[in-house]
């Protein structure tokens, strides 16, 4: 199967799903799962291949698809997350309205993303990018209510990004004469650095918006929290990473390592790094203040994307490997967390962190998976998040950016703060009475979540598997290859051996467990026995969840308003006011209308005769 057929199958699969839905919802569900899982197989087989195909000619431009190691990695991540999201949707979306449309759009987004990562020329890139953008818009708006506002925010920023991108693309076409990545890559070194910078900035706006880099992040918290949960997983897991892909593509495939490091005296990539650092630190602490589980995760996504970009932009092999690996990991654990929260929302009907609690008794599997996800998010050893963050930190420290490293490390503590809040307020603490009948999540919700937890853990203990692939990518961009072993990274300035660490932790756990068993046998008692000494406890009143970090939030809240968002809203308001004023031109009075015509004529003549304008 060649690449064009792959995309075509994906596209047709989406529409076929829609049509099948008209016949029967069961067939549609089965088919959606089937088609999304089916595509993983050929994608997987494409590993290491170097296939290229010109599939169409658009306005005289050849449209090319090509698989590279980088696009392979992204494509696999995209397809896997989408498949899991589709499986999760089966029960999550059951009984909701307009499901045919939902699956169509979900699979269309998937096609768009696959197309983006497989494109080898800018015009197919743009086309797929746009298809992804508008279908995402339709899906974000799906939930109605506040989702509409979120959708508008998303699409307006997205269109601005696309405008910036198409200007860049066409400008490249005009100057280079081709939109093939290879041609452009050979053209860029020949052009002036000012022009390269211009192009890079244009594309950075596009990718920054999609990737939610500060100051372009404001669409994300709304969109992520308002979209249907399975789609939030896709959105956060892979869709925003299309921006990451774009960054990598432009910085390393097209512009090339040397240019990126040296352009503007090295200030360009440093500036991106600083933006990424800002993206880490503020959203992390804004996330601490959130009371909506998905909103919290959304802000967390922004912050984690900051890590990815920080790793990629810093311009060392170690950082690049760490950044790309963190993309992969973030896709896994953030999708995992969104799906877990989705399962909780499905069972309890709420995602308000203040009113949940104690669900560990009711949904143990979801709890453990969410815990693994949170560990990955924090970067606890034995999860994949640890390895990637370790790589990024190490790159920053050895690259002598101690302040960036500080921000990255400190962001991790913020991550712990909000992650614990998430876990505690949903699963720990006391179970409110109203949730005493909650059942565990349905099986189609558990499968994706369990699978993702396995990914998080396995790649945490054996990080060498994906790191090898990523290292070949980074080497192909001209970075120093790293000494990757299956158990981690061997290097002179600090080794990382995950298998040893795993063995040590495992042994210690066994040891402590034995110690635990040595003590006298425990008895299990009810949760509030020792607290209330057997007296009646009004459970809901003693659940400490509301404003969990009160002392902290009181201190940091005044500094953490999203000023950028306020600014954009203000700008939108100004435009609205201005447009109202413009509309007043068409006042409805014929006298004015005629005078417009006559005045226009008069002005033209006066300009000509009096001022000799032309």
């Amino acid at each position: 199967m060649n690449l064009a057929q792959l995309i075509l199958i994906s596209l047709c699969g989406a529409f076929l799903t829609y049509l099948l839905g008209k016949a029967s919802s069961r067939i549609r569900d089965t088919f959606a799962v089937f088609i999304s899982l089916l595509l993983i197989i050929p994608l997987f087989c494409l590993y290491g291949k170097n296939e290229e195909i010109t599939y169409y000619s658009f306005l005289g431009l050849p449209l090319i698809l090509k698989i590279t190691p980088l696009s392979w990695l992204f494509a696999i991540a995209v397809q896997t997350i989408t498949s899991l999201s589709v499986i999760f949707s089966l029960s999550y979306m059951k009984g909701k309205e307009r499901l045919d449309f939902y699956y169509l759009m979900l699979l269309l987004v998937n096609t768009g993303m696959l197309g983006i990562v497989l494109s080898a020329d800018l015009i197919s890139f743009y086309i797929f990018w746009e298809i992804m953008s508008w279908s995402t818009f339709l899906l974000i708006s799906y939930n109605r209510g506040p989702a509409l506002h979120a959708g508008m925010k998303y699409i307006v920023m997205s269109i601005i990004g696309s405008a910036s991108m198409i200007i860049g693309i066409l400008s490249l076409y005009v100057n280079c004469g081709s939109l093939d990545f290879v041609q452009i890559a050979s053209f860029i070194p020949r052009t002036s650095s000012g022009y390269t910078l211009f192009i890079l900035i244009l594309f950075c706006i596009t990718f920054g918006i999609k990737n939610a880099i500060a100051p372009f992040h404001t669409w994300l918290p709304d969109a992520h929290s308002e979209a249907p949960s399975p789609f939030s997983a896709v959105l956060s897991g892979v869709l925003i990473k299309m921006g990451t892909y774009g960054f990598i593509l432009f910085m390393y495939t097209i512009a090339g390592l040397n240019i990126i490091i040296n352009i503007g005296g090295g200030s360009f990539h440093y500036l991106i790094s600083i933006l990424a650092a800002i993206t880490i630190i503020f959203p992390t602490f804004i996330a601490v203040l959130q009371d909506d589980a998905k909103r919290l995760l959304a802000w967390s996504s922004i912050a984690q994307v900051g890590y990815i970009i920080l790793g990629i932009a810093i311009g060392t092999g170690l950082g690049f490997v760490g950044g790309v690996f963190h993309f992969f990991n973030h896709a896994a654990f953030k999708a995992l967390l969104f799906l877990s929260v989705g399962a909780v929302e499905y069972r309890t009907g709420t995602r308000d962190l203040n009113s949940l609690g104690g669900l560990i008794k009711k949904m143990p599997i979801t709890f453990f998976c969410a815990l693994i996800g949170v560990f990955g998010l924090i970067g606890m050893p034995l999860t994949n998040g640890f390895v990637s963050k370790w790589l990024i930190y190490k790159a920053l420290i050895l690259g002598e950016h101690p302040f960036l490293a500080f921000i990255a490390l400190f962001g991790t503590w913020g991550t712990i703060i909000y992650s614990y809040k998430l876990i505690h307020n949903i699963f720990l603490g006391q179970l409110p009475e109203k949730f005493s009948n909650v059942r565990k999540a349905p099986v189609t919700m558990r499968i994706p979540v369990i699978f993702l937890s396995l990914v998080v853990v396995v790649f945490g203990i054996l990080p060498g598997i994906p790191l090898k692939i990523i290292d070949t990518i980074s080497a192909s961009f001209g970075f120093q290859p790293q000494d990757i072993q299956i158990w981690g990274i061997a290097s002179e300035t600090g080794v990382l051996n995950m298998v040893n660490i795993f063995a040590a932790i495992f042994a210690a756990l066994i040891f402590v467990w034995l110690l635990f068993l040595m003590g006298r046998k425990k008895i299990n008692i009810a949760q509030d026995d020792s607290y209330a000494a057997g007296a009646y406890v009004p459970k809901d009143k003693y659940n400490y969840t509301v404003d969990f970090y009160k002392p902290l939030s009181g201190m940091i809240k005044p500094y953490l308003r999203d000023f950028v968002d306020d600014f954009y809203l203000w700008l939108a308001d100004v435009i609205r006011t201005f447009s109202d004023k413009t509309r007043k031109i068409y006042c409805g009075d014929l006298g004015y209308y005629i005078s417009y015509i006559v005045l226009f004529l008069a002005v033209l003549i006066v300009l000509k005769m009096g001022l000799k304008i032309w």
Binding site: L59, I127, E130, M152, I167, I575, V598, I605
Partner: protein, 508 residues
């Protein structure tokens, strides 16, 4: 080879025969426009290969140009006549069911006259004939705007009439001045001798033409009639006005400035005018609550974009502009047709009253979405290649000024996208629960108000769906396969730019 004169003669004959058919059956009249337009469409398509090979110049009354009246059927003309026939045909099918009340026969007659006028404008090679056909177009559209006979319709028709007449007067003065200077009305002849007169003397007629045709072509600030007229006309007429009439106005400007005046020195002026129009239109549409007014303002914006593209002045840019002509004709017609039945069913033109209609009228809503996406310029719809070409040609100027201009164009696009996406959200995602009848608004619907039962909101009738679906498919087809129109667009843009060829083609 078929004589292109039939393109004008046949619809005109049909138009005037409608009252006769009315004698046979009251219902017969409505079937005439589709037949006539289908004829035109087929004829245009048959002519396209010949015309692409070599333009056809037909002269009437036995005298060769410059003495006789001639038709010049170049690629541009045939492209426009094909688009006019296509849109006219589809809209007339839509009208079979939509136009049920009132002076039905007169509607169909004026409708055909309007299209005949438009076809004449794009085919004629004589500037006075251009004026005459233009008047046919305008006068029929005055009548059609007021077709519903309600207060808003008549008022806006009168406003339109007055402004249009001012424009006609300017045009006539311009033609008189030209005739005084050159002694001929043949466009090719004028073009051939244009350098014999000092530029200063040419300026006044040029400005008069721009203003005169600009009124119909919806150029800012001459377009004040447009929002009223579009919103108070029946949707079929809005579609034709927006998709054909105002585009004909812009065509006339292009023809006059490029072919006659060879206006290379006012290109920048056209660009600026286009940008101004674009911004004015999009900004006005942005906060509009009335859907048809919003679409009308959007048309203004699109005309600005086309003018901008024409002002770029390179063959690729003009081809892009013409592509945008096609796109706008198809998309805007589609959107107006789609909204037609929505407004009719809901009884209000307020955007908020269209809530949740996506579920009740799925095809109409889908068609609206396709049209809107195409106007915004999203792939894989027809708007994408056209916008692509326009922006590309602007960037090919290699001037920082044009990069700023492109920025402004995209500012317009962003605003346009914002309001269109807002409407799409209203259609699909904002909704009263199903089964609850829509609240009846106080504003009077321009469409037939007499339908009593609005409780059950059903999809549009089949006669309305077919043209919409065809238009939507065409938009997608052109978007995916822009090569389909590539050749004729290039030939047309060359026709506009290459005056010598035009002159030789007529005065051989």
């Amino acid at each position: 080879m078929v004589n292109p004169i039939l393109l004008i003669a046949v619809p005109l004959a049909f138009a005037f025969s409608i009252p006769l058919f009315g004698l046979i059956s009251k219902r017969a009249g409505r079937f005439i426009p589709p037949v006539a337009m289908l004829f035109n469409l087929v004829l245009s398509i048959i002519l396209i290969p010949d015309v692409l090979e070599s333009p056809v110049s037909v002269f009437l009354s036995g005298f060769p140009p410059p003495f006789g009246i001639n038709l010049y059927v170049g690629p541009l003309g045939i492209l426009f006549s094909a688009v006019i026939a296509l849109v006219g045909f589809l809209v007339s099918i839509y009208a079979l069911d939509y136009i049920k009340e009132g002076a039905e026969e007169k509607y169909h007659m004026l409708y055909l006259a309007l299209l005949t006028g438009a076809t004449g404008v794009v085919l004629t090679g004589d500037i006075f004939n251009l004026f005459v056909f233009f008047e046919i177009l305008c006068i029929s559209s005055y009548g059609l705007v007021g077709y519903l006979g309600n207060k808003a319709g008549v008022e806006s028709a009168v406003k339109y009439l007055i402004q249009g007449s001012v424009g006609s007067a300017f045009n006539l003065i311009g033609i008189a001045l030209i005739y005084g200077q050159f002694g001929t009305l043949n466009m090719a002849d004028i073009a051939a001798n244009i350098n014999s007169v000092s530029p200063n003397q040419l300026f006044i007629p040029l400005v008069l033409f721009i203003v005169g045709f600009g009124i119909e072509g919806a150029i800012f600030p001459l377009n004040a009639w447009l929002p009223d007229a579009h919103s108070s006309a029946p949707s079929t007429i809005s579609a034709v006005l927006s998709g054909i009439a105002i585009e004909t106005g812009v065509y006339a400007i292009a023809r006059v400035t490029f072919t006659i005046f060879g206006a290379s020195d006012i290109l920048l002026f056209l660009v600026l005018l286009g940008l101004l129009t674009l911004l004015a239109g999009e900004l006005s549409a942005f906060s509009q609550n009335n859907i048809k007014r919003m679409l009308a303002y959007s048309s203004i914006g699109q005309m600005g974009l086309i003018l901008f593209a024409l002002g770029i002045g390179t063959d690729y840019g003009i081809a892009g502009g013409l592509f945008q002509f096609i796109n706008h004709a198809l998309s805007k017609a589609l959107i107006f047709l789609a909204t037609g039945y929505m407004i009719y069913r809901m009884g209000s033109m307020e955007i908020s009253s269209l809530e949740g209609i996506g579920k009740k009228m799925p095809v109409s809503s889908l068609c609206f979405t396709v049209g809107a996406f195409s106007l915004i310029g999203l792939p894989p719809f027809a708007g994408f290649p056209s916008k692509f070409m326009i922006v590309l040609s602007a960037l090919e100027k290699h001037s920082n000024l044009f990069i700023v201009f492109i920025g402004i164009v995209f500012l317009g696009t962003v605003i346009e996208a914002t309001y269109f996406f807002k409407v799409i959200q209203v259609l699909y995602f904002k909704g009263a629960p199903a089964g609850v009848p829509a609240e009846k608004k106080t504003e009077i619907s321009p469409a037939q108000e007499t339908i009593k039962d609005r409780g059950v909101i059903t999809g549009a009738p089949i006669a309305a769906l077919i043209p919409m679906i065809i238009l939507a498919l065409l938009i997608i087809l052109i978007g995916v396969y822009p090569k389909a129109v590539d050749e004729i667009l290039n030939a047309s843009s060359i026709e506009l730019l290459d005056r010598v060829k035009y002159i030789q083609g007529v005065l051989r």
